[in-house]
Symmetry: C2
Subunit: 103 residues, 2 copies
DNA sequence: ATACCTATATAGGGTGTCCGATATATATAA
DNA sequence: TTATATATATCGGACACCCTATATAGGTAT
């Protein structure tokens, strides 16, 4: 059971999309690699392209992300109003569940 | 993609064991149904027996839980020193990842 | 033009969490 | 005893997140 190893007690699966919404909520325009950078700082390990881009695509297909501008192959994303609302709902739920957990 | 439905933006899968550690860290002796009660209050829906008991067993097998006392079929659990340490490690990681997310 | 680096993209599948269904056991009540 | 309610337990599998490997394309330099 990987979750209960010596190093980690939870794998936090299912939080990637939520984290991306949060990052875009905080720092408006970000592209894929910037998101990966920020996740690397927070999680300790950097998500691979095969992790980050499908996650972005999922959020985009849900109508939560707007492609802002393209410079070369770089694509910047911002939250749509729908994405903003989805994040607020998710954050309220997250806060209720994990109230009191943080140091 | 179930995660990005209208109601929820993340399923928070992979957090159940971590939450149980947290609940036992806060309120020392709890048995299965008390844990289910508390999770019901936080998550909104009550975990079924098929969810909660395998999760407890996983933590028990990892050496994180100590069976305190049995009254009838009721079993109360507390964190072992090892479980305490595992929770501290997990909470530090959790806090780093989700810093700034809560309302 | 060629080489190289970076950013984006998809497929395919491993992996493990979580849940429904089901079973067992204890305590209490009628 | 019989019935009922509660607590614990296991199994079997659906589900889908995430990763490895691979591919494509734009920018830049030589």
């Amino acid at each position: 059971m990987a979750i209960y190893g010596d190093e980690e007690s939870c794998d936090m699966r299912g939080m990637l999309g939520f984290l991306i919404l949060f990052l875009l909520y905080e720092k408006k325009p970000m592209h894929g690699q910037e998101i990966a950078d920020e996740l690397a700082k927070r999680r300790g390990d950097r998500p691979s392209p095969g992790t980050i881009y499908p996650a972005i695509k999922g959020l985009k297909d849900a109508g939560y992300l707007h492609e802002e501008k393209k410079i070369g192959k770089t694509i910047s994303y911002t939250l749509t109003p729908r994405g903003m609302k989805a994040f607020h709902v998710a954050r309220r739920r997250f806060t209720k569940i994990f109230f009191g957990v943080l140091d």
